[in-house]
């Protein structure tokens, strides 16, 4: 069961403002204030503004303080724990773990090193780089600050990392290895990914327009999304508010290309089918699909084909949207933030929109909730994620009655 949610996104860092901004279809993609990349103008994206309550405690060391990804992950985790009103004893914390996903983790230490290297060569390598370059330090920072003594994992599954972490946490609880897990993902705006997409021609020249005929690529964002997962019995015993049930998941690997998805959408369709069969649900019973919807020609086309394969004619009746159109593609955090959006859709009975969608792709002739969100009956959601290398993870979330 999901009993707590936390986000830090360009659309807001508390659930009410985040959800309100999503439903209104506000696009937060614009000129970036705190991030630059050499040779790219204008530089657009969606940045997070942390507030005072998200500051790091005084005891956190200097290296950790320099980690933007660590700050975002910790802020979202704390918000999720606070939302879950978890008051675990020391013994219960030993059975509480963390599954944190990321595409790149904290890259700025590599950027700093490159800048210093240009002037100083090997003498620019400092002792702290050894620990900073280890992405597990992000999970370690969160777990140490939250006092977690269970399994603490760093899942690297490119842009499927958020869902992959949720799946791993779900399995750990289902198998009895943990009672409570915090799961989700984090990523910051990173020079290497931003520039890499630009060189591959996959970065939007303006703002991303998922499923639009004129879509021209990704707009990046930064952020983190975390959820608290626990078994029903424990959640009920402590009187927790239940947002949603993680009913099951599916995963697949395209094994097709380093960056491009399999254009047939076969791999993505296998993950969707496996997710649905793991829960015994039919495609027709799904009320909302949170699309991967990056706004690139290749991804959206493959996703559309996969949806048609799995949903057939039902596709036209199922609302599907991409909130990346508003908060940008937050890489490893994306599907975790989208899972929070699904949990809110289930509890607040509404679906978020796809912003910037004004001329739908003729191949995508179904309900992409263009412009603004709307009230809807939402009992079951399918949250889709795909990543570089072709790894796809789909999670089914259902309303808890």
């Amino acid at each position: 069961m999901i009993t707590g949610c936390g986000v830090v996104t360009a659309a807001g860092n508390d659930l009410s403002s985040f959800w309100g901004a999503l439903l209104s279809g506000t696009c937060f993609i614009g000129p970036l204030k705190h991030f630059s990349a050499p040779g790219i103008e204008p530089i657009l994206g969606a940045e997070v503004e942390l507030d005072a309550r998200d500051g790091l405690p005084a005891e956190v060391d200097t290296d950790a303080r320099r980690s933007r990804a660590g700050q975002l992950a910790l802020a979202a985790s704390r918000r999720a724990l606070s939302d879950a009103a978890l008051r675990h004893s020391a013994e219960e914390l030993e059975r509480t773990g963390l599954a944190l996903g990321t595409t790149l983790g904290e890259e700025r230490q590599v950027g700093d090193l490159s800048e210093r290297w240009a002037g100083s060569g090997p003498s620019s390598v400092d002792p702290g780089f050894y620990l900073r370059s280890d992405n597990h330090h992000l999970a370690s920072l969160v777990a140490a600050q939250c006092g977690l003594g269970g399994s603490v994992q760093l899942c690297a599954a490119a842009c499927s990392s958020g869902n992959a972490s949720m799946a791993s946490a779900y399995d750990l609880i289902s198998s009895g290895a943990a009672d409570t897990m915090i799961a989700g993902g984090v990523d910051t705006l990173t020079r290497s990914i931003y520039c890499g997409f630009q060189r591959m021609g996959a970065l939007s020249k303006g703002i991303c327009r998922p499923f639009d005929r004129r879509r021209d690529g990704v707009s990046f964002g930064e952020g983190a999304g975390m959820v608290v997962l626990e078994e029903l019995e424990q959640a009920t015993r402590r009187g927790a508010r239940i947002y949603a049930e993680v009913a099951g998941y599916g995963m697949s690997n395209d094994a097709h290309h380093v960056t491009a998805p399999d254009p047939s959408g076969d791999g993505f369709a296998r993950a969707m089918t496996q997710a649905l069969s793991s829960t015994g649900l039919s495609p027709a019973s799904i009320d909302y699909v949170s699309a991967h919807g990056t706004g690139t020609q290749y991804n959206d086309a493959a996703e559309i084909r996969a949806m048609k394969t799995v949903f057939g004619e039902c596709a036209k009746q199922v609302p599907m949207s991409s909130i990346k159109s508003m908060i940008g593609h937050t890489n490893g955090a994306a599907s975790a933030i989208e899972a929070v959006a699904c949990a809110l859709a289930l509890t607040r009975q509404a679906v978020p929109p796809t912003a910037n969608l004004t001329e739908p792709d003729p191949d995508c002739d179904w309900d992409c909730v263009p412009g603004k969100g709307r009230e809807a009956r939402v009992e079951r959601c399918l949250n889709l994620a795909a990543g570089f290398g072709g790894f796809n993870v789909c999670v089914v979330l259902t309303r808890f009655a």
Binding site: D134, S140, L148, A156, S192
Partner: protein, 401 residues
């Protein structure tokens, strides 16, 4: 098929692949370790390290595009190839949709990321090679391994430093048990880039040349070791159905987190107890311990104290081996190597001694000495990371034949 206690299906190892500085097959590694050979030699800067001499990936596998991949990824691909061949895992015995990959990789992408980011600074965006960026993210080594062998079930990467590959084995067990795939390659590879070695050296982590010792009162630091290891996991009935004799059964896995360095010992003991509980075994059932001690005095002390707490009375204790004393700290490959050392010891009865251990720092353990032997039975492998992750795995050779 006889299920394990608790009704769990036995998950077995049906193939192994190793590439180390002491050989590239299990028999060669066994002979080298049992004769007390050490791979760690003095490096250019005076510290110890173990490098694989004359590694040529073309000797092991012919994979399109492999020359683009960094050394860690190529090592991982080659170890995977060896494991698949050893398991006689042909396409007709396991369809690609039923083959998954779990990769232990914390720093496998780092050299490529540094090189790519440095090129952005040095030559500018338009002259960078766009093919590098997708190879510069943490999931890249695993994604390339999955792509190389057409593994379409899943491609997950865990980044927990020296605990990564035991965690990857634990994840692989869960995924096979829950039928996410018919077979799963678990692979870990480590080949440090110069910047990582330099940072570790400046952090004072390396023992001076000739003074690398593990578990010893005079231990002054660790030494990096280059290596790759891979195993093929499948259900016992699937393995037997295709006429393959399994090599070992993975019976239990546990993990825990130390919120501060002083808790490392307690957290590792917790992980060990969880692994024994899952295996429905007691500490008295363990015939051999394959520890993750690496020469860093505090880490070794924590590991030793955890084992003392787990194993109790010295008289009945199993021998404790430490493969890193010979191979160096192989980080992402180390847990797999430790597990394989335990496997060959259980199968052959020969216990590899801990070289250069003269004065144990922590008494109360039966440290492996020359000519020790072990009865067939169950072994425990343990690992800790510099970021507080602790893992343990129980395997058995007795029930494999």
């Amino acid at each position: 098929m006889t299920p394990l206690p608790g009704g769990r299906p036995p998950i077995v190892i049906s193939g192994v692949g190793v590439i180390t500085a002491l050989g590239d097959d299990l028999d060669a590694l066994r002979e080298a370790l049992c004769s007390g050979r050490r791979a760690v030699v003095a490096s250019a800067d005076g510290a110890g390290e173990a490098r694989i001499p004359d590694f040529d990936s073309a000797r092991y596998a012919t994979i399109r595009g492999m020359r683009m991949y960094n050394r860690t990824t190529r090592l991982g691909i080659c170890a995977t190839k060896l494991a698949l061949v050893d398991a006689a895992m042909e396409a007709d015995s396991c369809p690609s949709e039923e083959l998954g990959v779990v990769t232990a990789s914390t720093s496998g992408h780092l050299g490529t990321l540094i090189e790519y980011d440095r090129s952005l600074v040095a030559v500018g965006l338009q002259r960078t090679n766009p093919a590098w960026m997708p190879l510069a993210i943490p999931s890249a080594p695993g994604a390339m391994i999955a792509l190389s062998f057409g593994a379409k079930a899943f491609s997950m990467t865990l980044s927990q430093g020296a605990a990564s590959s035991l965690d990857a084995l634990g994840l692989g067990m869960r995924l096979i048990e829950s039928r996410r795939a018919r077979a799963c390659v678990v692979v870990g590879a480590f080949s440090p880039c110069p910047e990582l070695s330099l940072a570790a050296s400046r952090a004072g982590m390396f023992a001076p040349a000739g003074e690398f010792r593990v578990f010893d009162r005079r231990s002054r630091g660790t030494a990096f070791g280059e290596a790759a290891a891979a195993v093929v996991l499948e259900r016992l009935d699937d393995c037997q159905h295709r006429g393959k004799t399994p090599m070992a059964v993975l019976r239990g896995y546990g993990s825990a987190f130390a919120t501060r360095p002083s808790e490392l010992s307690a957290a590792l003991a917790r992980a060990g107890r969880a692994a024994l509980r899952m295996a429905t075994l007691g500490s008295a059932d363990i015939r051999l311990v394959s520890s993750g001690a690496n020469g860093l005095p505090e880490r070794d002390r924590s590991e030793a104290r955890a084992l003392v707490a787990l194993l109790g009375d010295a008289a009945a204790q199993p021998p404790v081996v430490a493969a890193k004393a010979s191979l160096g700290e192989c980080v992402d490959a180390s847990g797999l190597l430790q597990m394989l050392v335990a496997l060959f010891a259980l199968r052959s009865g020969a216990v590899p001694p801990i070289p250069a251990l003269d004065e144990p720092d922590v008494p109360g353990l039966r440290y492996a000495r020359p000519h020790m032997t072990v009865d067939d039975g169950h072994a425990l492998a343990t690992a800790t990371s510099s970021t507080g992750a602790c893992s343990a795995l129980v395997l058995s050779a007795r029930h494999a034949a």
